[in-house]
């Protein structure tokens, strides 16, 4: 048995133990205060979104193209019996229009879905890892906090402000109708 096989075996054992520990550990065990975030990619940059602002995450769902609309509104989707407009988060953040965003999320409390490039995963960080940004960046108008991970710093997109911006766009487009 060589080194790789030993490493794989030890890793399988570790996963097995961790899985078993999850059942053995008490449900209300004391844990330090933490923040749950979604790690995403927009225009090639890393961002994060708070769990609390998200009603759901979806990948590779069927979308219906919506021509002739605003440049940020790209498609429509049907989710749990509702038709939701899908907005390009990159376009809202000021990035050039992406070719095809295959991941998107549903904003909590608003019937809007935001499409982004890639879903990196779930982040559970200590609350101390989330720090406010010292000065507002004109290029990132929906970001006022950032989370520090082991490898990089991800700006945290405030979904509520994005929804507000969409609503503002919708209000500006409605008189024209």
């Amino acid at each position: 048995m060589n080194g790789d096989q030993r490493s794989i075996a030890s890793k399988a054992a570790e996963l097995r133990q961790a899985f078993d520990r999850s059942f053995a550990r008490a449900a209300d065990a004391d844990r330090p205060p933490s923040e749950d975030l979604l790690a995403i990619r927009v225009g090639g940059d890393a961002f994060a979104v708070r769990f609390a602002e998200v009603a759901g995450v979806f990948v590779d769902c069927k979308l219906a193209p919506l021509p002739g609309s605003a440049p940020q509104l790209i498609e429509l989707t049907a989710l749990k019996g509702r038709v939701l407009p899908v907005y390009d988060l990159g376009a809202l953040l000021g990035y050039p229009a992406a070719a095809a965003a295959r991941s998107w999320l549903v904003a909590a409390g608003a019937p809007v879905a935001l499409a982004f490039d890639r879903f990196d995963g779930h982040l559970r960080v200590a609350r101390e890892a989330v720090t406010p940004r010292r000065s507002a960046d004109a290029n990132q108008p929906f970001v006022d906090e950032a989370v520090r991970t082991e490898r990089l710093i991800r700006p945290i997109i405030r979904v509520a402000s994005v929804v507000e911006a969409i609503e503002s766009l919708a209000r500006r487009a409605r008189p024209a109708e």
């Binding site: 996963l15 961790a18 899985f19 999850s22 979604l38 909590a108 779930h122």
Partner: protein
């Protein structure tokens, strides 16, 4: 006769001389025969008559002695001896009659015969008296009176005959001597005449031959001078030729040594070429073996490529499965996240569900991480497979190129072997030609040595010819001086 040669002239002179000698010899033989005949007649007739006369005297005495013996002893044996002596006496008388040629001689012989008859008669009477008983004195007186006179008469007749024959013998000797003297005189006369004649002939012949020999000697002297000059030139030329032959012989020897060196070099080249042919054939076999090995390697490489491509396809399948697993993990993760979101929305009631969802999310994350690792490994495997396939394809191309190059090497080795075989053949031909050349050069060397030897001999011969010509010139002068003293002076 003017156009006769020396030999003919000398032969003619000798022939005349011999003819004169024959004439002298014939005259001498005739003279000798005359002398011999005269002497033979003296010896055979006169001397024999004298001897027979002497024998008559001896036989008369023998007969008388035998008769006295009987008279003294009366022994019949004396009578037989007396009769025998008388028979011999009669036989001698008969032989005298045959030899005597003159009447005087025959008369004397008859007289002797009659006297002997009378003597015998007287003796027979006395013998008869003795046979009687007469006294010895009577017999003795009868013997003295009767036999004595008869005996004296017989002795006188015999003595007369002897005296006559002695006279005739002396006369015959004188006649024979005169004949011999005449013969000697004749021989001397003829000899003198013939010697004079021969001298005249010799003088004439000597004058003619001397004159011609003088002319010839003059020509010989001139020719010998020319021969001397020619011999000088020939000796000089022969000396130069001998020197040139020596130089040529030295050059030929060097050429022979060079030919032998070329032969040895050609032998070495042939040997090396033969070794090279063997090496080339061995190399050819090795290349063929290597080519077969390369073909085997090529088949193994093709098999490896096939396996590698199969491994790549399997890896691709594993990747596809991993895509499914990864997608499932991602979807699980999404579901867990959504569950967590829903649990958070449920407040305290959803906390326990949120924990389960979190564990599911973690498990999905780990599965995603593992799938990433597997994908990385698969990618490594595929990369390795691709690299291996490329390497094997490169190796296969290299093997193909190597195989082609080995084919070219094989062809080149065959060509090299053929060229080396041609080289070997050429080297052997060179060796053979050089050997023949060396043999020819040796023969030329031997011939040149012979020519050099002949040149030296020619030089020596020329020197000898020169010496001989000089001697011939001297001899010509001497001969001319001998033949024509006035001309030589």
């Amino acid at each position: 006769m003017r156009h006769w040669t020396f030999g003919q002239r000398i032969g003619a002179g000798f022939a005349v001389t011999m003819a004169l000698a024959v004439v002298i010899g014939i005259v001498a033989v005739v003279a000798l025969r005359t002398v011999v005949a005269s002497k033979d007649r003296v010896i055979d007739v006169d001397a024999r008559l004298l001897i027979l006369a002497e024998e008559l005297q001896f036989m008369r005495e023998t007969k008388a002695s035998e008769a006295r013996g009987f008279l003294l002893t009366r022994d019949e044996a004396y009578l037989a001896a007396m009769r025998n002596a008388r028979a011999q006496f009669a036989e001698t008388v008969e032989r005298l009659r045959q030899l005597v040629a003159t009447d005087e001689g025959r008369r004397l012989v008859d007289s002797v015969a009659r006297a002997e008859e009378e003597h015998q008669q007287a003796l027979d009477q006395v013998i008869a008296l003795r046979r009687t008983d007469a006294p010895i004195e009577t017999v003795s007186r009868a013997f003295d009176t009767q036999v004595g006179p008869a005996r004296q008469q017989l002795d006188r007749d015999i003595q007369s005959f002897v005296s006559r024959e002695e006279d005739r013998l002396r006369q015959a000797e004188l006649a024979s001597t005169a004949d011999a003297t005449a013969s000697i005189t004749l021989v001397i006369t003829v000899t003198v005449v013939l010697v004079l004649l021969g001298s005249v002939i010799s003088l004439l012949l000597a004058r003619v031959i001397g004159r011609q020999i003088g002319t010839a000697v003059g020509q010989v002297q001139s020719s010998s001078s020319e021969l001397q000059a020619a011999a000088n030139q020939q000796a000089t030329g022969a000396r130069e030729q001998a020197t040139a032959m020596n130089e040529i012989s030295t050059t030929i020897s060097e050429l022979l040594a060079t030919s032998r060196q070329i032969t040895e070099s050609a032998q070495r080249v042939a040997q090396i070429a033969a070794d090279a042919v063997r090496s080339a054939r061995s190399g050819e076999e090795t290349v063929e073996t290597t080519q077969e090995s390369i073909a085997g390697i090529r088949r193994q490489v093709d098999l490896i490529v096939t396996h590698m491509l199969e491994l790549g396809r399997k890896s691709q399948h594993i990747g596809s499965v991993l895509d499914i697993i990864s997608e499932l993990a991602e979807q699980t993760n999404i579901l867990a996240i959504n569950a967590t979101i829903e649990a958070a929305g449920a407040g305290d009631a959803g906390r326990r569900f949120a924990i389960v969802a979190d564990e599911i999310r973690k498990l999905a994350d780990r599965v995603a991480g593992s799938t990433k690792e597997i994908r990385s490994l698969i990618d490594d495997v595929r990369s390795a497979v691709n690299t291996t396939v490329m390497a094997t394809e490169t190796g296969s191309k290299a093997v193909d190129a190597g195989s082609k190059q080995f084919g070219q090497v094989t062809a080149s080795l065959k060509q090299i072997a053929g060229l080396i075989a041609t080289t070997t053949e050429a080297a052997r031909e060179i060796e053979l030609s050089t050997k023949q050349q060396a043999t020819a050069v040796e023969q030329v060397n031997v011939a040149i040595a012979n020519v050099a030897q002949a040149s030296r001999e020619t030089e020596a011969s020329s020197s000898q010819t020169l010496q001989t010509a000089s001697q011939l010139a001297g001899l010509s002068k001497d001969l001319l001086r001998l033949v024509q003293p006035q001309a030589a002076a």
